[in-house]
Symmetry: C3
Subunit: 321 residues, 3 copies
């Protein structure tokens, strides 16, 4: 059986699905970032548009709720001229007990060319990609704890806009690494771009136990993690996990030990940037003044998210018949 | 008071609303099927598009939840250039106690030209059609157990693609006939097209008690129903009905007695096609291998569904001022 | 801190946000009504369209459920060529605990130019308007009990279509004045247009206690309120308020004392018009035969609502870079 990395390429080595950044060819990764840059406009200007997906149909299948990622894909599709079908999959089909595969066959039969899939279970986007017909592309819009490749791309683009040389970069990702698809996809991309050092900072109970981060340094002390970092990425913490795990006793203690505050940020380099995938829990994983401060690039990440999704859509559309 | 069949035609005998296939003129029925064929494209090609509904507004009023029928109408409308308004009628207006008629008056006043209505109560689409102004068309997208005319059209189109001569055809519909709007609309159309034989196969407790099927043969033994059939249509069973009715004891027994399995299908003609309106309960009314097998035309039905809805929309738009 | 009235104008005195009709310049108010007239078409004709918002993105942020106002803004935006993003803000972001401001920053970063906001709390639209970047416009689509300016505009437009001279007009608004944003916005506009007399008719427990209506006459007897009125506007009553307040004992008594019935309407002028913002509780605040009768202009209000929203959108788009 093909790996996800192989599965997402067509016979010519061009991108057909986007399932994971793990093992994605560096040249292809860089070209996606370059293409995304082309969709950025000065703030307040009309957003970039094209007809690259005119006549194409995008189905947003969010089996897990989402406002911002769905909105980002929705706008990316509309600004490329696609017809966008937003499926509220929770409330109807699942209620009727329809299988994922039957939903997919149905959309395929309606000539939905691109399926944007978010699911709480591991492997669902790849499972769908293995089962669709040749004319369908599958984009992973968030998969369990495993992968969130468009988030990874937008994170890489944001870093690249501020930091020229990945080889000398120290990146610290802080939070519940174990359950974070955002951390995993960022790590996959940073490894491909040969980042200088990747530090994963978390309470011991939230440290990664997989091989996804083989090349990274696992750190349980925030000061050690932040010292001389160029990039600090705070992760959203699920409130329900705090207080239920050893070493994650309560919100106040979490903030005191792992929250990105103005004070702790002094340890990072003076030109460090601060990132967060959103939505933020201000006062838990990040101090509000940091989120709104001069080092924050959080809203740039959102802007880059639309650009990255347009680039991916346009890229896969080029291979469509 | 005009019958539904009369009500749906305008003064010139052209289709204005689509409420039922019962009593629909054969020439008109056939022309709708012919027009739908014109919207079919080879698999993987860009779907058919036109500007036939450019400047028109379609309101999807689903008082009953639906994913696939709503998606099918949504795409049909968008691919014809219409503005599509999806109304989540359950959660808001009904909560506020607004009457159906006031909702209709409101949409009419917003210049919604086409109202696509799904409702769990009998007679709602016709009730709306009787009360709208001259410029509004009403399309029935599923009405209680009574009628689902676009489903009927897509079923007829699918049969016609595989079987040339309706007069020699044996069609077996299997399942909860009594509660099935799908069976009723198929029967209405098949009667108009003078089908050779229509068999309705169900447990006695689910047999029809109405006159809708006067010309059909009611059968309670699946073997008798399937023998030499050209077309086998399995109906979706509501799980909650199983076990609560005499003669419908449990899921396993239902499948054993009324499920369309590979084995039972041997009784049908060797070139029989198998249909299902979806979403399927695999292993209850249909065996998974049958659904995915060479005789299955289930995904073709979905494709035909979009084409039929485009044809109906385009047809009624021709009569609009 | 700028008042709402000041906040909604840009440096040139042109409208940038629409937050309130209170203090809105008369010339500007009248020009919005005039522009809205330009979007009206004969019944049954294709609705007015333009490309005035082509390339713009409208985000509908309804923190409070709504069918008709959301549908009206949705159609207004689509008919002007905008991309419309409907955000179901209740179910996702709020569940994750995201602050309103972070939602706004996110939409801003996605290049959403116009934010249409409905919220159950006082001051939210102005709060958002104070915090968005220069290129964003905020439209109030219903704010607590305080304000509903596009409703006010559509009410003024409807009155103006039937009654030439505001200076000689007697307008009676009947219902739960205290909790009515509809009454407040109508009053703001009527004051600017120097209406002859504004009567606010309600049970004592629902009489206004604010200064919003300083120029109006508060009346607790419906006969006194309706006598010789030119315009009668019934307000929607929240059923849950009836029976829970002194002087609002039950539905039957409410209708007997404050319902607009055929009989009571005899007291008004013979050419009086009857208005209601919808959705109606027929038989409570208004008799069904009145709602459907010759004096009713209720569906005209709905039609004018789309026109007014198109006019406001087009107006603010003219100032966009």
């Amino acid at each position: 059986m093909k790996s996800e990395a192989e599965l997402q390429l067509n016979g010519d080595g061009a991108l057909r699905h986007l399932l994971t950044l793990k093992g994605l060819d560096k040249a292809l990764l860089v070209s996606l970032l370059d293409e995304a840059e082309g969709y950025l406009k000065p703030e307040g200007a009309k957003p970039a548009r094209s007809d690259a997906l005119k006549g194409r149909t995008i189905g947003n299948l969010f089996f897990e709720p989402s406002t911002r990622t769905r909105a980002s894909f929705d706008l990316a599709g509309k600004r490329l001229g696609a017809d966008v079908l937003n499926l509220d999959v929770n409330t109807s089909s699942r209620k009727k007990g329809e299988s994922i595969l039957d939903t997919i066959y149905t959309l395929e039969a309606m000539a939905v060319d691109v399926m944007v899939v978010r699911d709480a279970s591991d492997g669902v986007p790849a499972f769908i990609a293995r089962n669709v017909k040749d004319f369908v592309s599958v984009l992973n819009a968030g998969e369990s704890d495993a992968s969130h490749p468009t988030q990874g791309l937008l994170d890489l683009l944001t870093i690249r806009q501020h930091k020229a040389d990945f080889g000398n970069l120290v990146v610290a990702i802080v939070g519940d690494i174990q359950h974070s698809r955002v951390a995993r996809s960022a790590a996959h991309g940073l490894e491909t771009l040969s980042v200088g050092e990747l530090r994963l900072v978390s309470p011991p109970a939230m440290a990664p136990d997989s091989d996804d981060f083989a090349f990274a340094r696992v750190v349980d002390n925030l000061d050690d993690g932040l010292r001389d970092a160029d990039v600090v990425m705070a992760l959203r913490i699920q409130r329900e996990r705090i207080g239920n795990l050893d070493g994650v006793p309560g919100i106040d203690e979490y903030f005191a030990n792992y929250g990105i505050s103005e004070e702790r940020l002094e340890l990072a380099r003076s030109d460090a940037i601060v990132m967060h995938p959103g939505p933020m829990n201000r006062g838990i994983e990040i101090e509000g003044t940091v989120a709104d401060g001069p080092r924050s690039v959080i809203t740039e990440q959102v802007t880059n998210g639309v650009a990255v999704r347009m680039a991916v859509l346009e890229h896969i559309a080029r291979s469509m018949s």
